[in-house]
Structure formats: C-alpha cells, structure tokens
Amino acid sequence: MMKRSAIILLAVAIAAGTGSLTAQTVTSGLRGPTPLNDEGPAPPMLPNRNTSEKEVRNYPEQPPVIPHNIDGYQVDLNGNKCLSCHARARTAESQAPMVSITHFMDRDGQFLASVSPRRFFCTECHVPQNTANLPVSNDFTDVDTLLSRASRGGRR
C-alpha cells in the first residue's frame, strides 16, 4: 500500500515537472524567444566602421583593427590588395601605415626583404569593425587603467 502510493506520487510529480518544462519558453538575451530547436530570424547586417582613422588598441599586443571597408579585397596567392597601400614602398603615395617590421621576420627572427609568408594573410589577425551594438556587455579593463590605479607598488 505504502509502496504503491509512493509510485503514484512519483508519477504525478514527473508528469507535473515535464508539463511545466514544456509550457516554459526559454528566453535568453542573445537568442530571444525562439525555441531552442528552432533558428530565429537573423539580425540585419550593419555596415562597417569606415572612418579611416586609427583606433586605439585595447591591449599592447592587439593587432590594430582595420578602420575602413575591405569588401572585395583580394588577398591570396596571386596578390594582396592590402599591400597596395600598406607595403613599405607604397606608403609614401598612400599615406597608409606601413606593415610593421615584425611582419618581415621569419620564425627564427631573421628579417626577410619583404613580408614573410606566415604574415601575408592580413585578415587572419586584422579585422574591420562593425557598427553593431555589443550583444553582451564587456567589463574589460586595459592595462593602463590598472597601472594608473593608486595602489601600493602601482604607478601613481
């Protein structure tokens, strides 16, 4: 008798549990009210930031971001459109920043005459920036902010 009522109670509990789960719509900040097994409508694509003005790096080692459109720029074995402006010899005419000297180094730190093959594909590291708002807020603090905090041993 005791055992049977326990089984019934368990069954009722499970049924109620699954019922409440299916009734629930999971709302996540990123994916919206779309059910988990469906794909929601894609948000519209926004244009790139196209100011052509140098942007501050977020940390010293950050590859500088591209402050202009690069739509249709061909970078492959046949040619590199980026280097038409950013190559050492082209910078006088284009007034674009020259690719840094580290891009001329091979793996052993030896300098080559031109951009090293392993640094040839610009967009592996350098990317244009979109005008979209951040979907998730970011509380990244850069190193200069940390250094300038008045603390013992820190920079004043």
Binding site: N50, G72, G79, N80, L83, S84, R90
Partner: protein, 217 residues
C-alpha cells in the same frame, strides 16, 4: 552578249579549269555592272538600292547588337564558368540600387568606330574558341595574366573610357565618399595623375598573379 547555247567554244569552255571559268564569270559580271541599265527605270534602281541598303544596314546593326549582349557573351562556357561566375559576387553585378554593368559595358567601346575595331580584334577570340585555348579552368588560369594585361592596356590607353561612361569625375560627390576614397580621388583622379584602372584592378574579376604589376606586391 553570248550565251553558252550558241557559243562555238562551249565545249572548250567546259574543258577549261575552274579558275579560268570563274575569271570569265567575274569579267562578264563587271561588264554588266558597269553598263547603264536598259531594262529598269532609274527610279526603280534608286528605290531598290535604298530598300536593300536599309535591310542590309539594319541587319548588320541587329547582328552587331546581338553580339553585344551578355547572353551572347556567356553563351560560351569559357565566359560563363570563369569571368561571369566571378563577376556575380562583385558590386558591378549586385548592389543596393540594382544598376549593373553587363559584359559589353566595360569590354566593348561604345562609339561606333572603336566598337568595330574592337569587334574585328575579337575575331581572334573565335580562333581561341575553335581550338580550345581556354576551354578548361586550368588553361584559363594559365592565360589569365595575358588576358588581363590586354584589358589593362586598353583601359590605360583610352583613359578608362568604359569606366567613365558611367562614373564621371565631374559628377562625383566626394563628400558622399569615405574619407579614404575622397582623398585618393582628389589627389590622383582630379589631377589626372592616374586613371581608374591604375588603382581599381580586379574589381570585377579575380586577379592574375600580380607579381611585377606596378603598385602590387
């Protein structure tokens, strides 16, 4: 005027070679053409000549226009699978306003004499088609630099005329351009220091091996 029926040399004529007979025919034709007509009135001849002229000229221009369409150009798989396929992803095929360039807009001069000159030059492409010069993707890639160099040279020689048929420097509003484009156009285009193709290579089709091309690495 003699006819073959009462010509005493008819048998001899038949025995003569093909070239001799053709020559005799041409000679006779010339004699007929250079003598004034004794059968048709001058008005009839003028009218017939006018009508025939209209039909010939109209037909010629229609045929010329048909060869000047994208449908005709992409009728060959060489064009359809290579350059046309590459064009499709560029701004000259699909863009916000829906205005697009077709093959002849860029590759055939628009004024008549230059167009005819280009068409005559293009008869070499028929040779290429017959002998399969670029009938595979690999062969096309091998010839890409040569083909591109021809077009660059043509654009350079006519000051990018086919670009300027649509993109006029006078109508260019540099305040609507990105800062980078506006600076470059003021420095190089407006001063006539460079022409469109000097900077805008590879905007409609993929680039060949650019080693040695000025301005490229």
């Amino acid at each position: 005027m003699t006819t073959t029926a009462d010509d005493p040399n008819a048998e001899l004529n038949a025995k003569r070679g093909f070239i001799a007979r053709s020559w005799a025919f041409l000679l006779e034709l010339w004699q007929v053409l250079t003598r004034p007509s004794s059968v048709f009135a001058l008005g009839t001849l003028v009218l017939a000549g006018f009508v025939a002229g209209v039909i010939f000229w109209g037909g010629f221009n229609t045929a010329l226009e048909i060869t000047n369409t994208e449908k005709f150009c992409t009728g060959c798989h060489e064009m359809k699978d290579n350059v046309y396929a590459e064009l499709k992803s560029t701004i000259h095929f699909s863009n916000r306003s829906g205005v697009r360039a077709t093959c002849p807009d860029c590759h055939v001069p628009h004024n008549w004499t230059d167009k005819i000159a280009r068409k005559m030059q293009a008869s070499k492409e028929v040779w290429g088609k017959i002998f399969g010069t670029i009938d595979t993707r690999e062969k096309f890639q091998d010839h890409r630099l040569e083909l591109a160099a021809h077009e660059w040279a043509r654009f350079k020689a006519n000051d990018s005329l086919e670009c300027r048929n649509c993109h006029s420097a006078d109508s260019m509003d540099i305040t609507k351009q990105s800062p980078r484009a506006s600076v470059a156009h003021q420095r190089f285009l407006f001063t006539k220091e460079k022409t469109c193709i000097d900077c805008h290579k590879g905007i409609a089709h993929q680039l060949p091996d650019m080693r040695g091309v000025p301005g490229w690495q």
